[in-house]
């Protein structure tokens, strides 16, 4: 059986779990059964993807006689699809394992179980689709299935609003993709990717199609300013679905962009790379700045996804620019960095969302101002969450650092680029990436420090208990992947060879043979990094120091109340909180970026009323883009409302006028 057929069977399996969930939803057995089956199917798909990717198998395709008449449904499984299939299904397997335990807390399983399988199926279907119709249909199915999961907890009005905005943005994104495909198929009227690739288009059409694809796929991935739905919708869903939305579905958005721009469009001017790089840089910095300001743990994670998507798009943009400039090895480096980050982010973001879900099921809270001290109550979750935080903050020796390091190396190659616009933009984007990396550190010190360290800020946090074994196993597995991918990155880079060879026309040198398992992206004289040795040195020097100090000096420890400069304050509200931790960064960047509004109402001496402090931080995308847009729509709708109450004569006149105008347009067009 060709690989693509097996892939389709996996998709059928996912759909089957959806049916299972719908039929058995009311029984207690449904949760473990549905998630268990979904996990097995996802693991099978992971194996399939690994076989295609590592075995460098040739692409297989299949045409099913369903879909539009005369078109059929085309499917194809090549290296790019296989890589993303690996990412999607690995995340899906982990989320399903996690949900076997976590799903028991679900109050209305019938609102989640029937849609979980179709959501996974739709994401896989997008990856396999090889014609525009199937692609768009799967894309919409993915949006709708995830929308049902977002609004599964429908009793909170915020979730309904999140679902509405998500639906709006998703349909806008699909509209853009529809137009992209329309432009690309214009020459032939054929909707298969293969024919579109072969047909080629004029430069203007290609430029427009690229921009539309960036907007359309970028709205799913979360590029600024199209990210607004993401921090609303991702936290609203149950945590394992949040992990899938943030860790995996955004990657399908990235895949959509890559499939259209790298594969179907192919030849591009370097300017496309410039646009993508700048969009990525802005997304990275703004995303992490918003993330630092959040007090809702899951929303913080969702904004951090925006940042990471920015980093991925920086890599993609550089790859486009290098490729257009005829520098295949550099393009391969940038592309490898981006894809490696795709993998890394899907792993550690899933891990972090699982951790947030564990915190939520243990305490019932997502608000960081009511958490704290969980390291004592949930010790194992704390360890894996810490590993996730360190990975996402790009700290060596974990995996987040490797992909960021490779992106930096790609930026350092970019003075070779010839177009002037890129010469100006790339250093600025490099500075943005550096800024984003540092702010991510601050963001995750805050996330871990406020939630897991310090003293509990509410009784719920003080009485939390550790989560179940399934959830812990899932998190532990992802944490291991973070460590292994960080210490042995060479294997991941080698596995990406078929993808970069297909899309960038070149691949990085094979890393497997490099002595000591270092990674050498270009040449040893230029740069090399060895995660394994750094990891070993850190562990060795740390434990050696501890041993020496304990043996040769003192090992006595005394417990005592906190010192706190002699005036320890009992109340936990005297600690630094989420808002106060972010305050210096808010002061530095906030006034410009966020239009932060603080009001302090301090009682005068002698007055007996309470003081008040109010802080408002608004996402500028709402203030400057969506707010005015929404107001414009409302105002024009209000104006147009009068059209509802016209006489029949006026309606007829209106129809006639419209006809005349349309005919004039057509006449002018000819």
């Amino acid at each position: 059986m060709p690989e693509v057929t097996i892939g389709l069977w996996c998709i059928a399996g996912f759909l089957g779990t959806g049916v299972l969930g719908a039929v058995l939803g009311r029984h207690a057995v449904a949760t473990p059964l549905v998630y268990g089956t979904a996990m097995c199917v996802a693991l099978a798909a992971v194996l399939l993807a690994l076989e295609v990717l590592l075995g460098a198998a040739p692409a297989t395709s299949l045409v099913l006689p369903i879909g539009l008449p005369g078109l059929g449904a085309h499917f194809r499984l090549d290296a790019l699809a296989a890589f993303f299939m690996l990412v999607v299904n690995f995340g899906a397997a982990a989320a399903s394992l996690y949900a076997i335990g976590y799903g028991r807390h679900e109050k209305a399983p019938l609102r989640v179980l029937p849609f979980y399988g179709p959501f996974l199926a739709a994401m896989n279907l997008v990856l396999l689709a090889a014609d525009a119709f199937t692609f768009l249909l799967s894309w919409e199915l993915m949006s709708l299935a995830s929308w049902t999961l977002v609004v599964s907890n429908h009793r909170q009005s915020a979730n309904i609003r999140a679902g509405f905005i998500y639906l709006l943005m998703a349909s806008f994104g699909t509209l853009c993709l529809l137009l992209t495909f329309g432009l690309l198929s214009n020459a032939t009227g054929d909707f298969t990717f293969e024919r579109m690739r072969a047909a080629g288009s004029s430069e203007t059409v290609v430029a427009m199609a690229t921009l539309l694809a960036l907007v359309g796929a970028g709205s799913k991935a979360g590029l600024v300013p199209l990210h607004v739905w993401l921090p609303l919708a991702h936290p609203a869903a149950p945590s394992h679905v949040s992990a899938l939305l943030s860790g995996v579905m955004t990657k399908v958005g990235v895949y959509g962009f890559m499939r259209i721009v790298f594969d179907v469009i192919g030849d591009l001017s370097p300017w496309a790379g410039l646009v993508v790089v700048v969009a990525g840089g802005a997304t990275a910095v703004l995303g992490v700045l918003y993330a630092v300001m959040q007090r809702d743990l899951k929303r913080l994670l969702a904004y951090s996804t925006v940042e990471n998507i920015g980093i991925i798009f920086i890599g993609l943009g550089l790859a486009l620019a290098f490729r257009a400039d005829g520098q295949a090895p550099a393009a391969a480096l940038a592309l490898t960095a981006a894809l490696f980050h795709v993998l890394n982010h899907s792993v550690f973001k899933s891990l972090l969302f699982f951790g947030a879900g564990a915190v939520q099921s243990a305490t019932g809270e997502r608000d960081m101002e009511k958490l704290g001290g969980l390291v004592h109550r949930m010790p194992q979750t704390a360890v894996v969450f810490l590993i996730g935080c360190m990975s996402i903050a790009a700290l060596p020796p974990l995996n987040g650092f490797v992909s960021e390091w490779m992106t930096f190396q790609a930026i350092l190659l970019s003075p070779q680029l010839t177009p002037w616009g890129l010469k100006f933009a790339v250093p600025a984007v490099g500075a943005m990436l550096a800024l984003a990396a540092a702010l991510a550190g601050a963001c995750f010190v805050k996330a871990f420090g406020v939630v897991f360290l310090s003293r509990p800020r509410s009784p719920a946090a003080a009485n939390a208990t550790e989560v179940d074994g399934f959830a812990l196993t899932a998190m532990l597995m992802l944490a291991w992947v973070c460590v292994v991918a960080g210490t042995l990155p060479g294997f991941v880079i080698d596995a990406l060879h078929p993808v970069t060879r297909a899309l960038a026309g070149s691949a990085l040198p094979t890393q497997a043979g490099v002595p000591w398992l270092s990674i050498v992206p270009i040449a040893e004289s230029r740069s090399s990094y060895n995660g394994l040795i750094v990891f070993f040195f850190l562990i060795a020097s740390g434990s050696m120091t501890a041993l020496v100090v304990h043996r040769l000096a003192s090992r006595r420890t005394r417990k005592s109340p906190a010192w706190d400069c002699g005036y320890p304050l009992d109340s936990p509200i005297t600690q630094y909180s989420s808002a106060s931790f972010a305050m210096p960064i808010r002061r530095v960047f906030g006034t410009v970026v966020f239009g932060v509004h603080e009001t302090v109402d301090m009682p005068r001496p002698g007055e007996m009323r309470a003081g008040h402090y109010r802080l408002r931080v608004r996402d500028p995308a709402w203030r400057y883009l969506y707010g005015p847009l929404a107001r414009l729509v409302l105002r024009s709708a209000h104006k147009l409302n009068r059209l509802q109450f016209l006489t029949i004569r006026r309606y007829l006149a209106l129809v006639f006028a419209a006809l005349i105008v349309l005919m004039l347009v057509v006449a002018a067009w000819r």
Partner: protein, 318 residues
């Protein structure tokens, strides 16, 4: 080259840095005291302090977690590994290729991450204030540091510190505008990252102005000793980074003969001493800044480094 020669040379580097770090801090304190017309503590006082702290009981707050107790060793290990990877007296040491300049900066980030978490662990206001401010400073200092590394790497065509040092020590690179800007930025970042005046005051416990000291306020005994040792190592790390990038003269770059190594070692110590004397001179001429003036100070480093990178992108001549 034979492992029997290479391994001892690498070991010499890491132990030497560890051994000399307290002395360098002792020199800065002595010079500073002299400039303030005091006699100051003896040069070996930092060694004695660490010895004393090591042998005291560690007093740990009741609600401290394992993070609090492991963090000092993590900070120390990350700083030590980072310091061990910077060429000091010779280039091309055994493990010099295992991490480049970007990785060294990120390792310092790992140390900072652990330190900031340790500050938040006990849940006191001071620990939080320190961590929060440290991360604010770092959010500008770390990108500045990365941009400095970009500027240098774009000139040298590599991010490997050993290769950069060998190239720069030949003198072929000459005097460049971007290098000057990078040096300026590196000095500012070094001051901010090592908690020196005007950003932080290592000698004060005046609560509302301190950053580094606030984070480690709860620490005592061996934990404090290890953190102090890490802070001293970090100062030496920045000194050797400045020496390696901007004054790599005298390093044993080629054949590792005994003479070359001794010359390298002596010149390295001399460079450290010169920097250790210059630092307090600079410190005594300025006043400590208010907290919210830091962004302008550290941001200037960011801007200078960004300018240096930009110049390199636009023209090869700078």
């Amino acid at each position: 080259m034979a492992l029997t020669i290479d391994l001892p040379l690498q070991l010499l580097q890491i132990t030497f840095l560890l051994a000399i770090a307290p002395l360098i801090v002792g020199i800065t304190r002595k010079v500073r005291a002299r400039l303030l017309c005091r006699r100051g503590p003896p040069l070996v006082q930092p060694y004695l302090d660490i010895w004393k702290l090591m042998h005291k009981d560690a007093v740990v707050a009741d609600n401290a977690s394992w993070v609090y107790r492991r963090a000092p060793y993590m900070i120390f290990a990350a700083t030590w590994v980072a310091a061990g990877l910077i060429p000091t007296y010779a280039t091309g040491l055994l493990f010099s290729w295992s991490a480049d300049l970007i990785a060294v900066i990120a390792l310092l980030g790992t140390a900072r991450f652990a330190l900031a978490l340790a500050g938040m662990d006990v849940g006191t206001a001071f620990g939080g204030i320190g961590s929060s401010r440290e991360m604010m400073i770092a959010s500008l200092a770390e990108p500045a540091m990365l941009l400095i590394s970009f500027a240098v790497a774009l000139i040298a065509g590599t991010t490997q510190l050993s290769a950069i040092a060998s190239l720069f020590s030949t003198g072929d690179v000459g005097v460049r505008v971007s290098l000057g800007l990078a040096l300026l930025a590196l000095i500012v970042v070094g001051i901010a990252e090592n908690a020196r005046i005007p950003v932080d005051n290592p000698a004060t416990h005046l609560e509302l102005t301190m950053v580094h000291e606030a984070m480690i306020l709860e620490y005592s005994g061996r934990h404090l000793a290890v953190i102090e040792a890490a802070a001293q190592l970090k100062l030496v790390l920045y000194f050797s980074l400045i020496a390696c990038l901007f004054a790599p003269f005298g390093m044993a770059t080629g054949e590792k003969t005994a003479l070359a190594l001794v010359v390298g070692l002596v010149t390295f110590v001399l460079k450290l001493v010169v920097l250790a004397v210059l630092l307090p001179i600079a410190e005594t001429t300025v006043a400590k800044m208010r907290v919210f003036r830091y962004p302008a100070f550290v941001g200037s480093a960011f801007a200078a480094a960004a300018l240096a990178v930009f110049l390199r992108f636009v023209s090869r001549g700078f």
